[in-house]
Symmetry: C2
Subunit: 201 residues, 2 copies
């Protein structure tokens, strides 16, 4: 090192880490020093994991889920309902729905939600691909399962408008109390939505 700067390979790792979302220069330095101190094995395993992920996985060309084979196992499974399409923000949302065992149709992963604050518009998401897919497909119902956040709800409304006139019913997940939750501690907006959506017992 030149005496008043870090060795170039160390600075380079800090710079690369600082390019990741949510990691500033300070955390990047902290992570780098952690990896310097950790055994050689940990840094090299991380490097290997990065390479392998890039080499062995891709996005499904139909639903844009992450997959090792294209089309993915869900898209190539003819046993699933071909007329139901569920739109999610992220691959992990898809996994959560699969774990609920409540859905056996197809998925479409948007890879994010519309967020003017973060500068994310429909063109940054797999929206055009969704419209195309609905136009060419044989779907009767489209379940928009974006997150119950401002961004997720805006994205749902935007999609509903874009999908009008394509002859497909557009639905959204119910809002209400969490199962096993506590009414007393449920926030007022959720409680309002739970009242609105009340059902006969």
């Amino acid at each position: 090192m030149a005496g008043n700067s870090l060795p170039q390979p160390v600075q380079r790792l800090i710079d690369e880490l600082a390019r990741l979302p949510g990691i500033g220069p300070k955390s990047a330095a902290r992570l780098t020093f952690f990896l310097l101190r950790a055994g050689d094995k940990q840094a090299l395993e991380l490097a290997q994991a990065l390479q392998q992920m890039k080499e062995r996985t891709r996005f499904c060309s139909v639903c844009f889920n992450i997959t090792e084979q294209d089309p993915c196992l869900i898209c190539s499974n003819d046993g699933r309902n071909q007329q139901l399409l569920c739109v999610v923000e992220e691959p992990l949302d898809l996994l959560a729905l699969e774990r609920s065992r409540g859905f056996d149709g197809r998925y479409h992963v948007l890879h994010g939600a519309i967020s003017p604050v973060e500068g994310i518009g429909p063109e940054d998401l797999k929206v055009a691909e969704l419209i195309e897919r609905v136009k060419n497909g044989d779907f009767t119902e489209l379940i928009i399962a974006t997150n119950p956040t401002l961004e997720g709800e805006s994205t749902a409304l935007y999609l509903k408008r874009r999908l009008e006139g394509l002859g497909v019913q557009v639905t959204g997940l119910a809002r209400g109390l969490s199962v096993g939750g506590d009414l007393e501690y449920t926030d007022e907006i959720t409680l309002g939505r739970a009242l609105e959506g009340r059902r006969e017992l």
Copy 2:
């Protein structure tokens, strides 16, 4: 993917990232999806940066600073004062002191501070190496420049006790007002220390 789990290479990267300090499973997944969506280049550059850092840098066997050559440029510079030793927590602290141009002695990097909360004791730091170095060296003054935090101050006190009887003067950096700062907005503890350490003008 098996339908209800992520492809193994993706899960592996999430697991590796989640092993880093301050990155939980949720941020690890967020980072992984970011890297999946980013161009191949970014993930591979990060992998390369990790490998290079591990291959090309090590800790100086004398002062434990990060270096590309051992001993480091500071330790092998005979033009610097051989009797002054400055103890810092991290390599970045050393760089900050070098930038101040206020010190031309040697350094010793502890690689952290004592923190019972985080389970970091003296045996996890380069403390034994420091004692050994002071015993075998020809130092007249040891400046303990740990951070002005609870952990840093405890570490300084601990070191002072361990260094007693070794015939070396132990000093610490002055506490006081920040140059260019505002008295009105200086916290009360710093102000107290500034009063305590007042000097004749």
